[in-house]
Each structure stands twice: as C-alpha cells, then as structure tokens.
Symmetry: C2
C-alpha cells in the first residue's frame, strides 16, 4: 500500500480523489500496489463530503508523515504551491502536478531537486489535460529530433473561436456565453490573452528540444481582437482560425509563439473543435503525429495526474525517470526573423497603397464587407511585415498569420 | 556504450540503422549512453552499403556475444523471428520488435520469458507504426478503465478507401495503383482482408483490457467487397467508409472486430485520410482521446523501434517495465450479441419485402443507381441482422456497419 496526499480539493483535486476511488483496483494493478489517499489538504471545510475523513488544513501534517510517498499538487498558482512542492521534494516525496504556471516558472529548480533526491516531479496534466503528450515526448519519441510542436492548448479559446465561427457571434458575446457555461473564468485574461497556452508551449518545447525556453521570452497574442469579419475571410479561403501555440527548432535557432492562425483543412488541427485540445508533433524520422483529447475538465485532467501517480509509484525504487528537460537556455531566434504569410485586412480605399507595399498573392473582397478587403501576402519575416505595416498603420483593420 | 543488433535488413531494419546513425547524439542523451549497432543479421549481401561493416549471416554470432544487450527484431513472420526472439530473451537480451504477427501469436510466451529474466520484450512499432499508442496504454492511461479502442490500423486499406472515395475508382483498379506505388504488396491479402488490422487490435485490446484476446477469435472482414456504389451511399449520408479495427469492454464481456464502417464527421477518425493511421481510445475518466500518425513506412516505424531500444537501454538495470498484458482469457461476447445499425443495399424490386423484414429508419435511392436502394436499419444485434438478411439473401447487394 502506497500512501499519497492531494494538495487542493478544487476541481482537479476532487477529480483525483474520485479517479482513485472509482478505479481503485485497476490502479493497484497498474501501480503494483494500491495507492491510498491518506490526506487531502484544503483550507476549506466540506461538510458531508467523503473527503472529510482525510481532510487536513495544515501542510506540515503531510510533510512530516514519513508514510506519504507521493503528493498530487493540484492547488494551482506559484505561491504556496511552490513552497509546498519544494518542501515535499526536499523531504523525498515524489510530486505530480497539473500546475503549468508552476512548472513553467520553477520547473527547472524543482526537477533538479527531484533528480538529486532520486524521486520524481511529474507534470503530464500540465499540458493538454488528459492528452498524454509529456510522456510521449519523454519516453516514446526518443529516437527522433523533434523540430516542430504546434498545439491547440487552450480549450476555452478553442470553444470560443468555434462558436464565433459557427454562430457568427462576436468576441464579447461568446465570452459571456462561455462564462455562463463555466468554460471561461470570471477573469478570462489567462485564457483569452494566450498566457495559459504560452506556459504550455514553453514546457513542451523545453522537453522536445532539450533546451530551456523561458515562457517570458515567448511572443504571445490572444484572441481578443478576432472579429466576425475575420471568420468570414477564413471561410472564404477554406480555413479556420485557431489559437495556436507553436514552436520550431530550426538550424538557425528556435522560436515559440502563441497567436491566432489560419489553418487549412489538410492540417490535422483543422478538425479540432469545441473544448478539445490537440498537439501536433513533427520528428525528423517520425514525420507527422498528433495527440488529441480533452484539454481540460475535472476527470480528464485528474486522469493524467493519477497516471503520473502510478508512474511515480512504479519508480519509487528505480528513481528519477529521465526526461529531456534542460537548464541550458535555448538559442532563441528573434521573432523578427521568423517568416510566414499573412492575411491583412485593410480599408477599401487603401488598396493601391497596400498593394504597392506588400507583395500580394490574392485580394479578397467579400460582398458583405464592402468597406474593406483582405490581402494574402507572400512569405516574409515578421520584421519585414512590421516595417511594411508601419507604412499603412491607419489603414490596417487586422492581421492574422497563415499556418504553413 | 550499449551494443545492439538488428535482425533483418529489410525496410524497417535499414530504417532502424538509419535512425540510429542519423540521431546518434540525441539517442545517446535520451538513453543515457550511446547505442551502437554491433551486428545486422541478414541472409543477403549488401555490397557498397555501409551496413557491410556489421553484417552477419549467422544468428549465433549475436546470441553468443555477451556484449549485445538489446536486439531489434524486424524480420517479420513467426518462424525464424520466433526462434531468434525466444533464444535472445532466454539469453537475457531485451528485444524490441515491429512484428505484430509474432506478438499476436506468441507475445504471451515471449513476455513471460522477459518477465522471468527481468528484461524487456517491447513492441511499440507493432501497432500503428510511429504512433506511440502502446506506451500510452502501458504507462500513461493507467488511471483509467479503458472501455473502447477503435483504430484505423492499416495504411494500405485506408489509402485505397480514400482513393476509391475521391476518385470513384473500383477496388481492383485502386489495388493496382497502390501496388504500383509500393503501398500494397504483391500479395495484398494480409492488408485487404483485414488480417493485419486484426492482429493489431488483438494486441491493443489485450493491453487495454488486461485480458488476453486471441486474434483467431476476432471477427474479421476486409475491404474487397467495397464498391463505388457503397462510396456513393456513404457520401449521401455524409459519412466515409473506413476499415475499423474496434473493440469494446462492456459489463457483459468484450468483443473485437475488423470490418468496414460508415463513420460520421463528428468522429475524429473521419478526417484520417491517405496512408495515415489513428487510434481512438475511450477511458472512463479520460473520455475521448486519439493518437494520429504514420502507420507504416520505413522511418516512422523505425523511429518507434528505436524509441523502444532507448526504453530498453534505460531499463537494463531496472528490469521489466510493467504492462497490462495478461494470459487470462477475456470473457468474449458472441458476435451475435454485438449490436449496431446497418446500411443494407438491396435490389429495387425487393423494397417491400425488405421493409417488412427490417425496421427501416431511412431509405436511400440515388438517381445514378436506379436498380437498387439502401436501407438504414435501426439498432439490432448482429445475430438478428443475420437472421433477417437470410430472408432476403438474393436481394441483398451489400451491407456496411454504421459506427455509432
């Protein structure tokens, strides 16, 4: 019998408790021993909930109990979650987490402590909820040089873009609807501004390229400026707008960015709708692969946390599971050198000027938007785009990148 | 430095050699030590090929060399491959394979030997080529009760169905084209009759449900009877015909089958075209997940074999990696009790009789096929379908199952 503790009885924490109770036998078989939740830490009371039996309010009860070998940290945030995780690892307890903010901010230090202690700090649930992408990178795609990761890593914004597309509603309206359904939080900033996806692509890219990519260095643009007009142009060129978190490892360096992109129907990410997430990976031997599933939600995320707890249990004696995490900073390209094509929406009267500034491949003029048009540019660097756009500032109504 | 050997220098074998040479440094970093191919076994000569340096014709050279700790068996078949694998495992060498026929036929015995010897028999490449589905089942989705696996597990037939759909060609024509392109073998039986997919779903289901499913017990139907008319009806109801290898683990027992199915556009398998493979998994906590990638091909398959070699290297000291393989036979349901809906093509003159026999939900009559029509039935068991169909034998032109 392995004793475990759960830090935080919120959505994911109660999910972890439920997964372990519901699938007790299967988990015991997979782990080699039963995993029993000895403590759940939360400041609140839960009268009548079966968790009461194991609820504690003081982390030291857990820290000082030598029986507890595995901890699920599902509190979120980088405050107490950081302190508790560090103390737990220093005390020789393996920690499994869904906390992408903490992994992106302090993962380096926490993994180093785990390595020194020959235990594990595992974070499958931090990226893509139930999608087992972290273990795929760490343990399956180990014969490959990974050169691209592109994900739809935020379910809230994918749902919102899907609704804007299907229903023709605008951003504010769909945000209200998403909040009413519980898909978006009261303060939606982390989702709609791309901060959540940014932390996830930082984690995945660091593992895949085996060089440290700091989330603070990642160009991040959310979906707040996407309009129903953008959706119309996307449909006109048979593409969908997706908030992509994407990174490439090129001979000249690597880059990562989060931004809305126009994705065509040959791309496996095109069909990823609603609150689903997916991660596309390209390896130099593997070619294209994609992992698809529920990117959030209580039970899928808890399933990933519990999968990590099983792995931690299997490795109590074997020690730290090797992963590609590195403290050596990646050679990051300036965003100005990253190339691509762009859809640029301009005021109709700026047509001639815009055509003289951009090398234009196609001009789109939609009957329902007579006051404006959209140019599809040829390939250029982001820096070039910025310079050209500066010549047209007042005339530009919007820009979306085109996924190659 | 870890010494390895490759058995067979065919498509996958030469791929393994290439992956290890090309990604030497990355593989060394991931494995913790460099993996060096000391021998390649093949009966043929390869004059001028760099493999000549390490080519041997006698398996005993490899078996008797105590330096060799890891063997990649990529010969295929269940003859010499079986003998060599067994001898290698008995000699304490871990074996990694792409050989689904061998795993489906003798996996039980070979895994037991590996367990006794505290080494590994790994077979990620046996199902879905480069798609890391085996390790996902064994090491990631361990907090879940898996209750469904449905895969497009054969690239040849997926390519053929895709071409038949897009180009309107018939089976014989598209088979010739696939053979000319090297996508289908001279003797295409294993692919087009579903035998290849059958072995793969046997392996995946055994791992997922942790009960042994013998491939010989799996109902298997190929794509040889699919016609351009079937494609027309599929389009008319906005579905695509896919050869699915599918299994479910239900309270009343489990079943597995391989057959063409009509898949709707809400199913993530709908968009899996060309030679790509994909595996859909449903877990009681995870919900829906899908894994997508190159299901065959030299380098993607070799990438999966090398991923296993890295895992074998990491575990040389730790021993056998736990998986869900079981020798205990699954409680398999009779196919007669498996329920579903059916599209039944009948001669036009049989309309009244057919409607009296089947509970019909919809009748499709396509203008370009005036001599026939198709019924969409309500849900019934396969047994009921068989009985009803017997009343109409001469009138039935074809039947395809509808994926729920």
């Amino acid at each position: 019998m392995i004793k475990a503790a759960v830090l935080g009885y919120g959505t994911v924490g109660s999910g972890v408790y439920e997964v372990i109770r519901t699938n007790r036998e299967r988990i015991a078989k997979n782990a080699g021993e039963e995993i029993q939740i000895k403590y759940v830490l939360d400041l609140r009371e839960f009268p009548g909930d079966p968790v009461e039996e194991v609820l504690v309010h003081d982390f030291n009860r857990i820290l000082e109990d030598p029986e507890v070998q595995i901890i699920a940290e599902v509190m979120g945030g980088t405050g107490a979650a950081y302190t508790f995780t560090k103390q737990a690892l220093l005390a020789g307890k393996s920690v499994c987490t869904s906390n992408k903010a903490l992994v992106a901010e302090h993962g380096r230090e926490l993994m180093e402590i785990a390595r020194e202690k020959n235990i594990n700090y595992l974070f499958e649930a931090s990226c893509g909820g139930g999608i087992p992408i972290i273990r795929a990178l760490n343990a399956s795609l180990t014969g490959d040089e990974i050169d691209e990761i592109t994900g739809i890593l935020n379910g809230t914004t994918n749902y919102m873009l899907y609704k804007m597309d299907v229903e023709g509603t605008d951003f504010d309206e769909v945000l209200k609807e998403a909040q009413a359904k519980g898909y978006a939080e009261a303060d939606p900033t982390a989702d709609v501004e791309g901060h959540d996806a940014c932390r996830k692509i930082a984690i995945l890219s660091t593992l895949a390229y085996q060089k440290y990519i700091d989330y603070k260095d990642i160009y991040t643009e959310g979906i707040t400026r996407i309009t129903p007009e953008d959706m119309d142009y996307a449909r006109a060129i048979n593409r969908k707008i997706k908030l992509l978190a994407t990174s490439k490892n090129l001979p000249e360096g690597c880059y990562a960015m989060v931004a809305p992109f126009l994705v065509n129907d040959e791309n496996p990410l095109y069909g990823v709708n609603d609150v689903f997430n997916a991660v596309f990976v390209h390896g130099n031997m593997l070619g294209d692969a994609m992992f698809y599933g529920s990117g959030a939600g209580k039970l899928p995320t808890a399933s990933a946390v519990v999968g990590d707890m099983v792995d931690a249990a299997r490795n109590l004696k074997a020690g730290t599971i090797r992963n590609g995490w590195s403290s050596e900073p990646a050679n990051q390209m300036s965003m100005d050198h990253v190339t691509g094509e762009f859809l640029v929406r301009i005021k109709a009267e700026a047509k001639e000027l815009a055509e003289s500034v951009f090398e234009t491949k196609t001009i789109l003029q939609l009957p329902n938007h007579p006051e404006e048009m959209a140019l599809l540019t040829g390939e250029m660097s982001q820096g070039e785009y910025r310079e050209k756009a500066a010549q047209l500032t007042d005339q530009i109504l919007g820009m979306i990148r085109i996924k190659d």
